[in-house]
């Protein structure tokens, strides 16, 4: 309180001096606003007007008119909702601040994802605030009102003889009911489901094998032996979160009861997927040979090993390995499960059903679910047939056939419609081709529901008032149906879509429940847990018939089309966080590629960034090449979802659209082509932006890996392979004897490298995207990165992935060299970076052995966009950094403080698990544990005491506070390498 009033003379003096620049110059410009949304707008406008020239630009503080009592400025509200944009209806926990969502997280207790989240789920926030969203209905280029839209559509529908309603597969029960009403009310209407990435082939095989539509859910937590036939169940295939959680639970000696519990993962695959990277045994498999392999294994289990031998010889696979595989499966009847990739033909899946039956998986390692969340997709050929003859009205809801219709005929089909009405988030390819382009609500603005399984329903509620003049697809559908069926009392009774939804729930979901049930469902985000279902009897004959189908003829090269791990089938292509999320294996961003084995590339005479043309039938696509060890020779692996032509500033013209290569066969939505013609071709100079350039560990002890046998022989082997930190040092150690000491432990046996933590970190800490060019120049800003190293041989490399973040060293090299004291050590062991004190010498980054510090070379937050809508995505608890400022992982210090405050309010000490950094919170494998190292009872302390725990670069005596637990793999004893071999990676690349 030492200040005194400023003498008026001086006051006038400095006013005359006019100092508006001072704060602009010295401090980050006002970007975040910690008050209300209203105020943010006021602030930005005030800044824009440059109002006032004394002191710093004055800002408004805006009172509400009459504030709701539950709303406390600056204090978060959490809403439970459901993710309806993706392939699986996971539960979302949305953190709302001052009326706007600022973080999307997994919903705890949700039957499917139990609090964890995928990258795409969390990135939903980014697409909600995407400035490129379609903001109002358009007829051609002209903006029109919704009444106008309804008038046009209803007229057309009344007059129509042939109407096609094209929707995505993810439709909730209420929406399905509404669609049924629409089809009933509308003359000549047919409802078709269009998806490019789906499990149609699997669903077909299951329907045949078990006589009813439903899906099989593998229980990896019960499986001791898992065989994946080209199934990336840890990456992109099916219920990834559930699978990862279940699988990881059986991988780490630190968390299983006994090493016997550890599971073994065999994979036979064409490419090198996340699952393949985590497999204990990796076999190369041509897609066309999948059926043969499964058949041979069945025979072997039946006692006839000859088939296996024949297959092995045909496919040049080591016989010994296959025999061991067969034996391993045989030895673990009832504890083994076989899964096949959704992109494989139905015949393979039928065969897998039979194989699983022989293994006694039914009811033990496989569960039956009669209520899949998605509708079975329709065959592209069928859709094409329906639309070829030309329809009077085509209504597309959230699908983009013009971009991704197999064979690339989408544009032609849509053009045939007399009136094409497109509903979507962006004005994408399809909406451009439609006569009416209608903006949809984002999932976070919508009311909806979803099927989570038998007797379990997810509820989706809006968490922000719609940003634009958009309308939910279902709302439109309801409005049109009501107009078409004036006589239907039920329809007329529903004032709007939410009313319809609530009615539907009252009758079908909450029938007989107390009145509070709806509120409970809203609060919890779902209703009812999944009931265990009786496993239906196997229709052996039907399955045999399908499994007997000969695989399609094999050519010199085969093609596999997989969903992209981030932008999936292209629906997330406009999302910057996902575009800039490094692909776990290749570290490729903003791009897709034709991934080839070194042998294949050599045969074609191509190298990285050369172009090849892939021709299937009469359709050809040119792709840049990326050579990757571990890929099967003769296979071209590529991903869908890139090459969008209308996906806003972020997604447009990134990579190549390979959808035209998708087969249109009536064999149901498989995504392989067993005969493609591949030629070297010329193309524009292409540069891949890869966030990692060197993939060899250079024989350094960075990721420690040991086999289960080695671990059993000597649990302390990590200590033997790393140099220990000296115990004594010249200058005194920090005193952590009182209070907290924050420590992290990362279990490399659990981590799959899925990279969900990266997006979690981006969202929590306002990390900007920097674009492809900056990534090429090694300037990506991710605080949490996943380092990937290849070891072993080039054909079946060991892949090690390691989350790398600020290690919060006790002897932090960065702290001593900053001349401004901008990075300092907290009494709780945090290495703190003070953005507003940082002048940007970059000395700290130079001196960081882990190179985890990130520098704002440009004004990145402004680089992406200056649209204020985008700014709403910022987390107000974290400063947005301006150019010239160094930044890095803070262990989510804002969460630490929040937890302390909560504890203080409850007048209790901070308990273990109160503080969970964004990365830990979202990790599907629960590989990251954070907590108080001073509390011996804490989980993190226990893990740090594990014999597997080691420090990366500990020998530098920087004394990091992140403990890595060495990765334990579980190869079959018969095939296990002698202890020590390849334990430290190294090798080529």
């Amino acid at each position: 309180m030492k200040d005194h009033r400023l003498p008026p003379l001086l006051a006038t003096a400095w006013r005359a001096a006019g100092l508006a620049v001072r704060d602009e110059v010295l401090h980050p410009p006002a970007r975040i606003d910690r008050r209300t949304l209203l105020e943010l707008m006021a602030a930005s406008s005030a800044l824009a007007l440059g109002a006032g020239c004394d002191r710093k630009p004055p800002r408004k503080i805006v009172s509400m008119h009459d504030a709701p009592e539950y709303l406390h400025p600056g204090q978060p509200l959490h809403y439970a909702t459901t993710w309806t944009d993706g392939p699986v209806p996971y539960g979302l926990m949305v953190r709302n601040l001052d009326g706007r969502p600022v973080k999307v997280e997994g919903l705890p207790e949700h039957p499917l994802n139990r609090g964890t989240a995928t990258a795409a789920m969390q990135a939903a926030l980014m697409s909600l605030y995407d400035p490129d969203r379609l903001r109002a209905p358009r007829r051609g280029e002209a903006e029109i009102g919704w009444d106008e839209v309804d008038r046009i559509v209803v007229e057309a529908l009344r007059a129509a003889r042939k109407v096609v309603l094209l929707t995505r597969a993810m439709l909730g029960p209420a929406e399905r009911a509404l669609v049924a009403r629409f089809v009933a009310a509308c003359r000549g209407a047919v409802h078709l489901v269009h998806e490019t990435v789906h499990d149609g082939a699997r669903r077909l095989a299951w329907r045949v094998a078990y006589g009813a539509d439903g899906e099989l859910r593998p229980r990896y937590d019960r499986a001791r032996v898992v065989l994946s036939v080209d199934c990336d169940f840890l990456g992109t295939d099916g219920d990834v979160l559930g699978a990862t959680a279940g699988w990881a639970a059986r991988r780490s000696p630190a968390t299983v009861a006994a090493t016997e519990e550890l599971s073994r993962l065999w994979i036979a695959e064409a490419g090198l997927s996340v699952t393949g990277a985590n497999a204990d045994h990796h076999l190369s498999l041509l897609p066309s040979a999948a059926l043969g392999l499964v058949g041979a294994l069945r025979a072997a289990l039946g006692g006839d090993g000859a088939a296996l031998g024949r297959w092995a010889d045909a496919e040049h696979v080591e016989r010994r390995v296959l025999d061991t595989l067969a034996a391993d499966l045989r030895d673990h009847r009832g504890e083994a499960v076989v899964v096949a990739g959704a992109h494989l033909p139905a015949s393979v899946h039928a065969a897998v059903c039979l194989l699983n039956d022989e293994l006694g998986a039914a009811g033990t390692t496989l569960e039956w679910c009669s209520a899949p969340a998605t509708l079975p997709p329709d065959d592209p050929a069928k859709i094409a047939r329906a639309m070829e003859s030309g329809v009077d009205v085509l209504v597309t809801l959230g699908v983009n056939p013009v971009y991704d219709f197999p064979g690339g005929e989408g544009a032609a089909l849509v053009a045939k419609a007399r009136l094409a009405v497109g509903h979507g988030l962006h004005r994408d390819e399809t909406l451009h081709a439609c006569h009416l382009a209608l903006p949809s609500h984002h999932g976070l603005e919508s009311w909806n529901d979803a099927l989570l399984g038998a007797g379990s329903y997810g509820l989706c509620q809006p968490v922000i008032t719609p940003l634009f003049a958009s309308r939910q697809e279902a709302e439109s559908l309801l409005a049109w149906t009501k107009a078409l069926a004036p006589g239907d009392p039920e329809l007329q009774a529903a004032a709007d879509w939410p009313a319809w939804l609530r009615r539907h729930w009252a009758r079908n979901v909450l029938a007989g429940e107390p009145d509070t049930a709806w509120d409970d469902a809203l609060r919890r985000g779902f209703h009812g847990m999944r009931q265990a279902e009786a496993f239906p009897a196997l229709n052996r004959k039907g399955a045999e018939a399908w499994a007997g189908r000969a695989p399609s003829a094999r050519g010199e090269h085969e093609l596999v089309l997989l969903p992209h791990h981030a932008v999936f089938d292209g629906r997330f292509a406009a999302n910057g966080w996902l575009q800039e999320l490094p692909e776990p294996i290749t570290k490729l961003v903003w791009d897709n590629a034709a991934v080839l084995a070194p042998a294949t590339a050599a045969a074609l005479g191509v190298e990285d960034e050369d172009w090849i043309s892939v021709r299937s039938g009469d359709r050809a696509v040119n792709l840049p090449v990326l050579v990757l060890p571990g890929v099967a020779a003769g296979v071209v692996v590529t991903t869908l979802g890139h090459g969008r032509t209308a996906a806003g500033t972020i997604g447009t013209e990134r990579g190549v659209n390979v959808a035209p290569l998708l087969p249109e066969t009536p064999r149901m939505g498989e995504r392989i082509v067993t005969r493609v013609d591949v030629q070297r071709t010329s193309g524009p100079n292409h540069t891949f932006a890869r966030t990692q350039k060197t993939f060899s560990m250079e024989g350094r002890p960075i990721v420690l890996r040991g086999t289960r046998q080695e671990y059993e022989a000597n649990p302390h082997f990590p200590a033997a392979r790393t140099h220990s930190t000296p115990d004594s040092q010249l200058h005194p150690d920090w005193d952590y004897s009182t209070g907290h000491k924050w420590v992290m432990a990362i279990d490399l046996s659990r981590c799959t490298g899925c990279s969900a933590c990266v997006v979690a970190c981006n969202a929590e800490n306002n990390i900007p995207i920097v674009g492809k060019d900056e990534c090429t120049n090694g300037r990506e800003m991710h605080w949490m990165r996943l380092d990937t190293y290849y070891g072993g041989d080039a054909e079946h490399p060991e892949v090690h992935s390691q989350p790398m973040l600020c290690q919060h060293c006790d002897n932090a090299p960065c702290e001593t060299v900053c001349p401004f004291n901008a990075t300092a050590h907290s009494p709780e062991g945090l290495n703190e970076q003070v953005y507003n004190r940082c002048a940007g010498t970059r000395y700290c980054a130079n001196n960081c052995p882990y190179k985890v510090r990130r520098f704002n070379f440009f004004d990145y937050p402004k680089l992406a966009t200056t649209d204020p809508v985008q700014e709403l995505a910022y987390n107000p608890q974290v400063t947005v950094r301006m150019r010239g400022v160094m930044e890095k992982c803070t262990f989510c210090v804002q969460r630490i403080h929040e937890a302390k405050f909560r504890a203080a309010d409850a007048d209790r000490p901070v308990a273990d698990g109160d503080v969970r950094p964004a990365c830990q919170q979202t990790c599907p494998a629960a590989a990251i544990v954070f907590g108080d190292g001073n509390d011996p009872a804490s989980r993190v302390a226990a893990l740090a005491r594990s014999p597997l725990a080691y420090h990366v670069l500990g020998e530098l005596n920087v004394r990091p506070n992140v403990n890595y637990l060495a990765r334990i793999v579980n190869p079959h004893p018969a095939l296990s390498a002698p202890p020590g071999a390849g334990a430290e990676g190294g090798g080529d690349r």
């Binding site: 250079e698 350094r700 090694g778 900053c818 401004f820």
Partner: protein
């Protein structure tokens, strides 16, 4: 002057029949005559480069460091390379003016002034880069340990802060030393001046020097003191600069040999630069008889000597890397010699170790034509030395996952070229407006000089 020790060189330090007036006339000619077309030409070139510097600097400050090639592992590149390069250049000045003075090496007289001037200019150039590499140069103010409204103190553990003190002291002392030495000569210029304004300006600059006995004795005391004061600086400054790297943990930086190695390198590059410029200067301003071949000969001997020291440092670095047995250390040095930046490393070795060996031959030492390419190459080599140390160490350190490559942009290049322009501009202006050779001292070593107190007064009388 106090009685002289035996001169280093047998031949006279100033050649030809020449008296005090003649010296004044020769040395002051450039000041008193309208500049030649050659000077204007040179000035135009230097000026253009200076403009380039201004443009690049403005662009950097406006857009950010992203306009440079620096990236994530390589936080420092050309910026700090240039800084160390220019600081090094300065060293010859201090060495010649201070240490050789204390050692009574009277042959220094002819080149001392020029070398000192060079020091001052080099420090000015050097200072540009630490400022610019912040991207927001105004924040450099936080480096000053002054009370502030944040109540934060600077971090005295940071070598960068030591730099601030070391370099500013160095710059300040060098300037004062240089200016003190100028006083009697400024007075001479004033006295020779015809035009009133000229008289006025040089009059003010000469602080009313009257050549009285008292002035001379004060002057010599002051000069001696400054010489003593700046002698330790020759060693301290570059040692401190080398701490930026030596105190870090990065393999290739974390090296105890750095301080002596840097100092030797600095003197090495400094002498090369002095030679580079003075060869031209003596030719264009017809001072061959004042700055004689013997001077260059002696300087070149020093160049050879320091070149050997630098070469030794290169070798010992590799030896320690091997002997120390740290995998990271070994990798960094192998990577230097055979990695993506091998070309830079071998350029450095060639220019700094191999080429200078030519100077063992008197014929090359004493022939302007032959020694000129040598000293030029040394300047190049010394720039690359800093580049190699900084960039090759950073671009591949501990975790291979974070390895990357550095490629300069046009801004990087312009800033360096521009700083050369800044340096040349200052040198050219210096040649036009100040005596490039110390008149007072040169007179002291003239054949006819009787260096005792009476003599001193007599010659002082020359000005009076």
């Amino acid at each position: 002057m106090s009685s002289a020790g035996p001169a280093l060189l047998a031949p006279p330090l100033v050649e030809g029949p020449i008296d005090f007036r003649r010296i004044d006339a020769d040395v002051n000619r450039p000041l008193e005559s309208f500049p030649s077309a050659r000077w204007w030409g040179a000035f135009a070139v230097a000026g253009l480069l200076l403009v380039l510097f201004a443009v690049a600097a403005t662009y950097t400050v406006a857009r950010g460091i992203g306009t440079w090639g620096n990236n994530n592992p390589v936080g420092w590149a050309w910026d700090i390379t240039n800084f160390v390069f220019w600081i090094g250049i300065g060293h010859a000045g201090t060495l010649i003016s201070a240490i050789l003075f204390l050692l009574r090496q009277r042959w220094r007289t002819a080149i001392a002034r020029f070398a000192e001037a060079m020091t001052v200019f080099a420090v000015i150039c050097a200072l540009q880069f630490p400022l610019l590499h912040l991207g927001r140069p105004w924040l450099a103010l936080w480096m000053l340990p002054v009370p502030n409204h944040n109540g934060i103190w600077v971090n005295f553990r940071s070598p960068l802060l030591w730099d601030v003190f070391a370099v500013s002291t160095y710059g300040l002392v060098s300037f004062l030393f240089w200016y003190t030495g100028l006083l009697p000569d400024l007075a001479t210029v004033r006295d020779r001046a015809k035009h009133g304004l000229r008289k006025l300006i040089y009059g003010i600059l000469s602080l009313g020097w009257r050549g009285s006995n008292r002035s001379w004795s004060h002057y010599e005391k002051a000069y001696l003191l400054f010489a003593g004061l700046s002698t330790p600086l020759v060693l301290s400054v570059h040692s401190v600069v080398s701490f930026d790297f030596a105190t870090s943990v990065i393999p290739g930086w974390h090296t105890t040999v750095f301080p002596p190695y840097f100092v030797a390198g600095a003197i090495f590059s400094g002498f090369a630069m002095v030679a580079t410029l003075i060869v031209l200067m003596r030719r264009f301003f017809h001072l061959e008889h004042v700055v004689t071949v013997n001077h260059l000969d002696v300087m070149n001997r020093i160049v050879v000597a320091t070149s050997l020291m630098v070469g030794y440092a290169y070798v010992i670095e590799f030896f320690i890397a091997w002997y120390g047995g740290v995998a990271y250390e070994r990798y960094v040095f192998l990577n230097r010699a055979f990695g993506p930046y091998a070309w830079a490393y071998w350029t450095m070795v060639t220019c700094n170790v191999l080429v200078p060996q030519l100077l063992w031959f008197a014929r090359i030492r004493r022939s302007m034509l032959l020694l000129y390419p040598v000293v030029i190459l040394i300047n190049v080599g010394m720039w690359f030395e800093r580049f190699v140390i900084i960039v090759t160490s950073l671009h591949r350190d501990f975790l291979p996952a974070s390895w990357d490559h550095f490629t300069p942009t046009w801004v990087d290049v312009s800033l360096f070229a521009g700083s050369v322009g800044l340096f040349l501009t200052l040198v050219l202006l210096f040649c036009r407006f100040l005596p490039t050779v110390s008149l007072a001292e040169t007179k002291g070593v003239l054949a006819g000089a009787r260096p005792d107190r009476h003599g001193a007064r007599e010659h002082g009388g020359q000005h009076a």
